[in-house]
């Protein structure tokens, strides 16, 4: 794939994620797509990822994938971005994430995702382990 094609695929992927277009994501994942996450250090299939998305989307009112910095290399892209979330109670949080994606024939064949799980509580507006919620 050319640089332009890979960038277009990257944008389509993140726009679909943001707009909760699971049907579009299913088109973008190759049949043998594998997704690995640094927090759990394990792989899941594209189908497993798609099946988990409805519940995952239900956790927030809105998610946007902002500040996207994309670089392409032979066979894929690396994207650094800010995941901004609005919880159902209005709490807003952000996570800094990096994804490395391998691409082939217009589809994504592998995703490696890197983030810091110690930021999850602040992102969701929950107290961290060992912290008490400061309530009025």
């Amino acid at each position: 794939m050319t640089d332009g094609e890979i960038r277009e695929l990257c944008k389509r992927f993140f726009d679909a994620y943001e707009n909760r277009r699971i049907d579009e994501l299913a088109e973008i994942y190759a049949p043998d797509c594998v997704i690995w996450h640094n927090v759990f250090n394990r792989e899941m299939s594209g189908a497993e990822n798609l099946a988990a998305l409805p519940k995952s989307y239900g956790g927030q009112r809105r998610r946007t994938y902002d500040d996207r910095t994309i670089n392409t290399f032979d066979g894929g892209f690396v994207i650094q971005y800010t995941l901004a979330g609005v919880q159902h109670n209005g709490h807003k949080g952000a996570l800094w994430i990096c994804i490395v994606a391998l691409c082939r024939d217009g589809k994504i064949t592998r995703i490696d995702e890197y983030m810091d799980s110690s930021k999850f509580a602040a992102w969701a507006g929950r107290p961290r382990d060992g912290e008490k919620r400061n309530e009025a």
Binding site: N38, T72, Y114
Partner: protein, 137 residues
Amino acid sequence: MRVDQSADAMTDPELRELCNRFFDALERRDIAAVEAIYAPDFSFWINLAGAESSREQNLKTLREGYALLRRRSYDDRTIDTFGTGFLARYSVNVVQHDGRRASFPACIVAQCKAGRITRIEEYMDSSRFRRPRPEAQ
């Protein structure tokens, strides 16, 4: 891949050599070699802090960090290059002074120019620091 056509642009082999030279220097605690690799205007950012640090601040952190561990290695390096830099995915393996070990995956995106690294952005999961394993018997 977009090609950087500036005079300071580096080729794919040059970027890969620089990447390995950088990690090898970190591994053998050769701060002088790391200093030579960092450009004068080098900056460092990590997802754990979300703040930038300067060349001197980063070198100070490296010097202080070495005293905290018996050994640290950067293994399983997967390197990809793009027009202005490289992406490296790797496993950090550490051995603490009491023998406990920890391993965690990380990646950096580095911008490079004229044979040096001008910026590093690093991503990892800090919860992995809290799960050291006992020393293998």
